[in-house]
Amino acid sequence: MEIVIPQLLTGLAGASSLFLIASGLTIIFGVTRIVNFSHGSLMMLGAYIGWSILTRLPRDPEWFVLGVLAAALATAAIGVVLEITVLRRVYRAPELFQLLATFGVVLVLQDVTLWLWGAVELPLPRPRWLRGFVEIAGSRLPLYDLILIGIGPLVLGLLWLALHRTRWGTLVRAATLDRGMVAALGVDQRLLFTSVFALGAGLAGLGGALSLPNSSANLGIDLSVITDAFVVVVVGGLGSLTGAFVASLLIGVLQAFGIMLLPKITLVLVFLVMAVVLVFRPNGLLGRPQAEAREAALPAPVVRAAPRELRLLGLAVLLLAAAAPFLAGDYALSVLTDACVAILFAVSLHFMMGPGGMASFGHAAWFGIGAYAAGLLLHWLGTPMPFGLLAAPLAGGLFAALFGWFVVRLSGVYLSMLTLAFAQITWAISFQWVEVTAGDNGLLGVWPPEWARSPRVYYWLALGLAAGVALLLRRVLYAPYGYALRAARDSSPRAQSIGLDVPRLRMVALVIAGASCGLGGALFSYAKGGVFPTYISIAHSVEALLMVLLGGLQTMAGPIVGALIYTGLADLLVRSTDLWRLVLGAVIVVLVIAFPEGIAGAVRRLWLRGREA
């Protein structure tokens, strides 16, 4: 008992913080249908702004409250600016492009924050009243935790009042149910969206400022918070405020007890909960079924074989690539090898995401599984590279099949979130199972054998595998299976009624994608001489998405173009500026606004202008 109650209260305090961030995310999603990746960044800004304000104010409780509110307001104002400059321009873009744009914002805000406040984490010196304790059931509980516990229900109550007792709230609820309705009511949608975004941002800022006494303002907040918030929102049901509250409690408490009982698997636990909930309730605890993804509503352009000229261009590029070792130095070759890996990474994601219609937010999982398969075999059994390169796709495909069992029944954002959860579980295992994976230190000494060690030979190997797999996947997509996969994406009812097995088609697509991506992971490991948990990070998964979406979903060449541009851009930026995230983020945002169909898609459209009747 002595341990249970404090632990429970810690859990409840954590739940309140989770709810502050998740409530804003879910309200924004409900009204605008945008999954706001930058919501964690807003919380981070709230923490930094809160720190700057609170450290300048007197240290009495009333000033603390004022400071926190000021930080929330400032964050809300930043939210307004963001909505007007970026989000407003992408409301009509496909769901994934919106996500991409908000991820661009994440990158920009990371560098802005770094530039303004520096890299050192900033703890808030705690005045005496904040360090107080309260005696409950024989144990001393931090006063501040109790305050936090009260804030969650308080905010829920205020939001409920705002949503049910004001005209604005009626509009928000109407928009959450049916977007068309608001337009029909003749309401100024822009104002509604901006105000909703401001509210969400304000809540995130509030959460950030309130997190200060228990932790600090630091640059890791954005991504760590956004994954927790995603989990809460998805478990609760997208768009459902009460659902978010229930899910925050569930996850906050589970986390608190998980740390006590099973410290080794805390990272995994949260995502396991999400996976289990989604298997039994595919729309979350209190969510309604999602309307069909809007992408399906947009007419997908007809996929036709590339025109002859473009295919010749492709061949020329391939020949040039094969001749590169005679033209380029070792550094350039290593970048080109990375590009080959990136191509595998991107074409495999494109396969399941474009024709398969399953957007993955955790594509790095297969990459990591392939990498660890090769690395572990070499490390523990001394298996040489050729077998490693064979084992990696097998492992990737096998795990994709296991995972596919959960996933193929879901759709849209829920599917994306479960893929994210799976990747986080994989990451957590690689990170926490130190005895086998060496944890954070990674598996070292994963080098290719003597014959393949020169950059030239290794580059040729990588090029051969990447080009081979890309051509193979292309071939498959033009064969009956690939058409059937696309048919299932275009119209699942129609596909079934002509006798296609939609779940199985998707399952096989996952396996093919997992295997190809696993090969990429192994190839990358031998090139770098090691395998690390960072291969499975969210940022890495997002890179795959970036490549595919930049290149464009609707063309077969898209992911390749995207991979090349992304690798080139990233290399150039990292070498030429310290603010590479800022530049990259801004480029992403601009590209999404300018080319909602991707670069290759835009080129193709210009090329075919007037030819498509």
Binding site: P301, V476, R486, A487, Q496
Partner: protein, 252 residues
């Protein structure tokens, strides 16, 4: 033997009885019209026969064998083709490729990973497109077709698996009156030639009386009348339902 026998079919959504205790049969070569006002439960009947919805009770027999509650896929493989009230086609493919997909699926050639689709069963696909009057548009993108043409394409796709039973949920919605008659007369001819049973629903009464062999009237989930054109036209209860809802012809 009847191609399709439906006995005691029932379905509720929440508390709403969408279909209660519906029984009927369709003979080979016969065209049976299922009519009724909006919300009568017609699409729900189609979806239970086609496997899109599992019935709460009742049985569906196809050529004497039960298909109740089977998946749409299994039912398709047993020789049932269908069109949807809201057209469902493959938007990222050309018109011809849509039909090719149906042909490949019917021949169980889907699980092939190497030989391209291009040109496969193209003659057969073009013949089907010719029948429904879409030959000239075979190479166009499906997404640019007019709504009436999409309906025609759905018919060609549904015919792709050589069905012995064809389910058509409002096949002519969105077409001009003359086109409707032409399409349904084509269906009539195919039904007779192939001995294919057709179950269809249609809001245009002229079309219904013109092509159907027999008519079923559904109202609020229940069968209220059955008979040929003349007897349905003369039925006072049917007139009541239709005059009451204001739809005598042309649909909504």
């Amino acid at each position: 033997m009847s191609t399709l026998v439906v006995q005691g079919l029932r379905k509720s959504f929440g508390g709403v009885r969408a279909v209660s205790d519906v029984s009927f049969h369709v003979a080979p070569g016969e065209m049976l019209a299922l009519i009724g006002p909006n919300g009568a439960g017609k699409s729900t009947c189609f979806n239970m026969v086609g496997g899109q919805l599992p019935p709460d009770a009742g049985t569906v027999l196809l050529e004497g064998r039960p298909i109740t509650g089977l998946s749409p896929r299994a039912i398709a493989h047993r020789g049932v083709g269908r069109t949807f009230q809201i057209t469902a086609t493959f938007g990222s493919m050309t018109v011809r490729e849509n039909v090719q997909m149906a042909l490949l699926a019917h021949r169980r050639e889907i699980w092939q990973f190497w030989r391209p689709v291009a040109g496969r069963h193209a003659d057969k696909a073009d013949a089907l497109l010719d029948q429904v009057g879409l030959a000239a548009q075979a190479d166009r993108a499906t997404s640019v077709l007019a709504y009436g043409d999409l309906k025609r394409l759905e018919l060609a796709i549904a015919l792709g698996n050589g069905p012995r039973l064809l389910l058509m949920d409002e096949p002519t919605a969105g077409m001009a009156p003359a086109e409707r008659v032409a399409l349904m007369q084509l269906t009539r001819r195919l039904a007779t030639e192939r001995g294919m049973a057709v179950l269809f629903t249609e809001h245009d009464m002229d079309v219904v009386f013109d092509v159907s062999d027999r008519i079923l009237v559904l109202n609020r989930g229940q069968l209220m009348a059955e008979g040929n054109g003349a007897s349905i036209r003369a039925n006072p209860a049917v007139r009541e339902v239709y005059l009451g809802s204001g739809a005598t012809s042309g649909g909504h």
